[in-house]
Chain length 477, copies 2
C-alpha cells in the first residue's frame, strides 16, 4: 500500500522559499575544488553543510583526508559524514553527494553572476552548483526539515557522505569509503546517489548502468629535439607521421573500433535488454539538439542509445607535443603523444582491453617500419558499472517517481562514468541507485548552470517519498 | 689577377678587439621584435646602427614603416638604409641584414646572460644575436672601418638595408623593398645577404637556393560544441577521426608525398646538378648529430642533401582544437584543424601545388563518407628561390672564400626559406647571393647562440674581399 505522503508534500511546498534560500546560501560559497585559492571556500562550504545538518538534529563529523597529493601545501577539504536516525528497526540508506563545484566566472560568458542564485520568470534557478550537486545534496537536508516540520517520523536511518573534491578527481575518497564501509557505513542497506540527470527534460529516470573508461597514450619519439621542417623535412622520419598512421587504425568514421578482439568482449544483447529501449523518452531530435548538428552515426533512437550506453566507443582526443596553437609553425615535433580512450561496457575487463590495445598499437607501429620509438600505456582506467534494476532499492524509487511525477521512470544507463558509484558498490556490497534530480538542459560544467525550481521542489518530495517506499519494500535481495 | 688584400686583412686583425667591442654593444641591446615591451630596444638598436654608420661616413636614413598590423599601438621599427660611396665608376652592391633578434632569457637554460657577449677560452662568443644577425650586419660596418683605417679605397658603392622585424615576419618590408627598388636601391648591380650558416663547421659555403613553403590547414567540424566522450562517444561522427584519416593520406614514413601530381611538378635531376653533391662537406654523422638521433630516411649523404634541398617534403605539424595538454581529458573536439606544410622546389608553382593539395584532401575526405564538414586552405605560401651560381656575384664570392679560407666554398642550397631573398631578386631583377658568416653549430634561435671569433674576424675579411673581387669581375650577365 502506498505511504501517506500528502502532508510531507504540502510541507515541502510551504517551505519551498526557505529551501530556495538554503540553496542560495550554498551557491554563494564558491567552493571550486580545482582552484587552489578557493580551497578555504570549499572548506567553508563543508562547514556550512555540517552546521545545517547539526541544526536539523543529525550527528555530524568532518573527516579530514590529509594533504592534497602533488600539492602538499593544500589540505584536502573534509568529508562531511552524518547520521540522521539510529533506529535498528528501520532500514538504513547511505546517500552520497558533493559540495564542491566546477570553476565559473562571469567572464566565461555567464548571463548572470555565477555565485548569485538568480531565478528567472520561468523558475530556472541559475548558479554554479545549483544542479551539480548542491541542489541534490540540500534535497536530503530539506527532506529532513520537512519531515520535522510536518511532524512525520523519518522513514529510514539516513547515512550521509558529502565530499568536497568530486570535480577534481575525488582525491582520497576511495580509500575513505573502503575504510568506512565496515565502520561508519556498516549499517547501510542500500546506497542512493543523486548526481546525474534525466535523459530529457520531461521524464524522470532511474539510472542503473555506467560505462567505464580506459584512457591511453601513444608516445612516438625520434629526434633529440624539435626540428625545423625547412632544415629537416625530407631527411628524417617524423614521429607525427607515424602517430597519425597508428591513430588512424583505431576506429572508423562510424565509431566502429578496429582493434581485434574488442567486439568479442562485449556482452551480447539479450531480447530482454533490447525491449527496454523502445519505451524510453528520447528522440533523434533530442540527440541533434544536444549535438548541435545532425552528425549522428545511427538513424534510430534504439541504436543511438545502445551506442551511448551498452556498446564500447573509442574517441581520439588529441595530440600532446605537436603544434596546437592558432596560426602556423613549421615545427617537426620530436615527440608526440596521441591520446584516446575507450568507453567500456560489460564484460570488458580492464586488463583484457589493455592487452588488446597494446598488441594492436604495437602491431600497427611495426607495420610502418619506422626507426622512431613507440611507447603505449594506459593512463588510467575505471570499470563500468551495472546494477540490477529489479532490486528493492530501484523498485522503491520507481514507485516514488510514479507517486510524485505521475509517470513510470525511464530505466537508463549513462555513457560516462561516475567512479564513486562502483566504489560504493564494491566497498559496501550493497545495491546502488542513481536517482537524478535535474534535467538534461541543466548545463552542469558549462556556463549558465541551472536547476529548475520544479525539479528542486518535486525532487525534495521524491527523495522523501523514495525513503518511505524503501521502508515498505519487502526485502528480496 | 687577385686584388691586394694583405693590408686590409692586417687592419681587420689589428681592430679585432674593437670589432668585438662593437658586437658586445649590439648584443647588449635586447632588440626582440616579437615582444611588445622590447620595441623601444629594437628602435634603440636601429638608432645605434645609424649612428655607427654616420660616424663611419655613410649617408643614413631611418625609414618608418608605420604601425604594426594587428597591434596598432606599436610603431614598427625603422628600416635603416644607408649608402657608403657614390662613385658611378664603381659597382654598387646592396646588402641586407636584420638588427632584431629572437627572444631569450637566462631562465630558458642559457649558460650565460644572453644579452652579455661572453667569450670563452675557445673563442666562442655567446650572446643572443651574435650570429643572427648582428655579427654579419656589423661585418659590413667593420669592413668600412678597416678600409678607412688602412687607407684603402672602398672597392664598391655599398647600399645597406637593415630591418628590425625579421624574426617577426618582416612586417612591412616587402612593400618597402618593392617601393625602393627603383629609388633608393636603383643603382644596385647585385645583392648580398649574410643571414644563413655554413653546412658544417669547417668549410665555408655560398648558398644559391632555398625551398619555398606552402602551409595548409584542414578544418573538419561537426558538432556545435565540444562534446563529452562519455555522453556522445559511439553516437556521433567525430571530426578528429576524420581528420586523422585525411592526414594519414598525405605522406608516408619515408617522407614520400602521397598527393598525386606533386612528383610531376619537380624539376628532374640533371647529371650536372647531381655531380655537385659528391664534394660537399657533409656526412651522415653530421645529420645524426643535428637530429640527435639516427632516424634519418636515407643512408647516404647525396640523397639526404637532395631530400633537404632539391626535393619537396611534407611535414605534419599538429592539430589545433584537439586536446594538447599533458594528462587526460575525455573531450570530443567539435572542430579540429590539422596543420601541414609542403616545402617546395623548382618547378612547383604555388597555385599548381594548392590545386593538387585541395583536390587530394577533398577526395580523401569524400572517401570517408562522413557527415562532418571539411574546409581546406593555404594559410600562406612563399616561393622557392634558386639563383645562378655562375653569376659574377657568386664567382667573386667564391674567389674571396678561397683567398680568405684557402678552400673552394661548397655550393649549397637550404631546405628552409628566407623570403626576403626572393623579394630582393624579384624587386631589383638582380642576382642575389647568400654569403654566410657563422657555422652550423651557432644555435641561432636556440639557447646559447654564439658566433666563433674566427668566423667573425675572418668573416669581416671575407665581406671586404668579396667586394674587391666584385670590383674586378668582368660583367657577364
Ligand atoms: Zn556532480
Ligand atoms: Zn560535476
Ligand atoms: Zn636571421
Ligand atoms: Zn633568425
Amino acid at each position: 500500500m502506498a505511504p501517506q505522503l500528502d502532508s510531507y508534500f504540502k510541507t515541502v511546498d510551504d517551505l519551498s522559499d526557505a529551501f530556495i534560500e538554503r540553496l542560495r546560501k550554498a551557491v554563494a560559497i564558491p567552493s571550486i575544488s580545482a582552484e587552489d585559492d578557493r580551497r578555504p571556500d570549499v572548506i567553508r562550504m563543508g562547514k556550512f553543510l555540517a552546521s545545517e545538518l547539526t541544526a536539523l538534529g543529525a550527528e555530524v563529523e568532518l573527516r579530514e583526508l590529509g594533504k592534497q597529493p602533488h600539492k602538499e601545501h593544500l589540505d584536502l577539504p573534509p568529508v562531511v559524514v552524518a547520521r540522521y536516525g539510529n533506529d535498528s528497526k528501520k532500514r538504513t540508506i547511505l546517500v552520497y553527494g558533493h559540495y564542491d563545484v566546477q570553476p565559473a566566472g562571469i567572464e566565461d560568458g555567464w548571463a548572470t553572476e555565477p555565485f548569485t542564485l538568480t531565478v528567472d520568470d520561468k523558475g530556472r534557478m541559475y548558479g554554479r552548483g545549483s544542479t551539480d550537486d548542491k541542489g541534490p545534496v540540500l534535497g536530503w537536508l530539506n527532506s529532513i526539515e520537512a519531515h520535522k516540520k510536518a511532524g512525520i517520523d523519518y522513514p529510514v536511518n539516513l547515512l550521509m557522505c558529502f565530499e568536497g573534491m568530486e570535480e577534481y578527481g575525488s582525491e582520497g575518497l576511495d580509500d575513505f569509503i573502503k575504510e568506512e564501509a565496515k565502520k561508519y557505513f556498516k549499517d547501510a542497506d542500500a546506497v542512493c546517489i543523486s548526481d546525474n540527470y534525466w535523459l530529457g527534460t520531461e521524464k524522470p529516470c532511474l539510472t542503473y548502468g555506467l560505462r567505464g573508461c580506459n584512457y591511453y597514450s601513444i608516445e612516438i619519439s625520434g629526434p633529440g629535439q624539435d626540428l625545423h621542417s625547412g632544415v629537416f623535412g625530407g631527411t628524417a622520419q617524423e614521429p607525427m607521421t607515424d602517430l597519425v598512421n597508428v591513430m588512424n587504425t583505431l576506429v572508423n568514421k562510424d565509431g566502429k573500433i578496429q582493434i581485434k578482439g574488442i567486439d568479442e568482449l562485449v556482452a551480447p544483447l539479450t531480447d530482454d535488454e533490447k525491449a527496454l529501449y523502445g519505451d524510453i523518452a528520447f528522440t533523434m531530435d533530442n540527440l541533434y539538439e544536444s549535438l548541435g548538428s545532425t552528425t549522428g552515426i545511427y538513424p534510430d533512437k534504439e541504436r543511438t542509445l545502445m551506442g551511448r550506453w551498452r556498446y564500447p566507443s573509442l574517441s581520439l582526443h588529441g595530440i600532446e607535443g605537436a603544434y596546437s596553437a592558432p596560426g602556423a609553425k613549421t615545427v617537426i615535433p620530436a615527440k608526440v603523444i596521441g591520446k584516446f580512450s575507450i568507453r567500456t561496457v560489460p564484460d570488458m575487463e580492464i586488463d583484457a582491453v589493455n592487452e588488446l590495445v597494446y598488441k594492436h598499437v604495437k602491431d600497427a607501429f611495426a607495420a610502418i617500419g619506422s626507426k622512431n620509438k613507440l611507447n603505449v600505456f594506459c593512463q588510467h582506467a575505471g570499470k563500468w558499472w551495472v546494477a540490477s534494476p529489479k532490486h528493492w532499492n530501484f523498485t522503491a524509487a520507481g514507485k516514488a517517481v510514479e507517486h510524485v511525477w505521475g509517470v513510470k521512470p525511464d530505466l537508463t544507463r549513462e555513457g560516462g562514468s561516475i567512479p564513486v558509484t562502483l566504489t560504493f558498490e564494491q566497498a559496501t556490497g550493497k545495491n546502488v541507485l542513481l536517482l537524478p534530480m535535474g534535467s538534461s538542459t541543466d548545463a552542469a560544467h558549462s556556463i549558465n548552470e541551472k536547476l529548475d525550481k520544479k525539479n528542486y521542489i518535486e525532487g525534495i518530495k521524491l527523495l522523501g517519498a523514495y525513503l518511505h517506499y524503501v521502508a515498505e519494500e519487502p526485502i528480496t535481495s
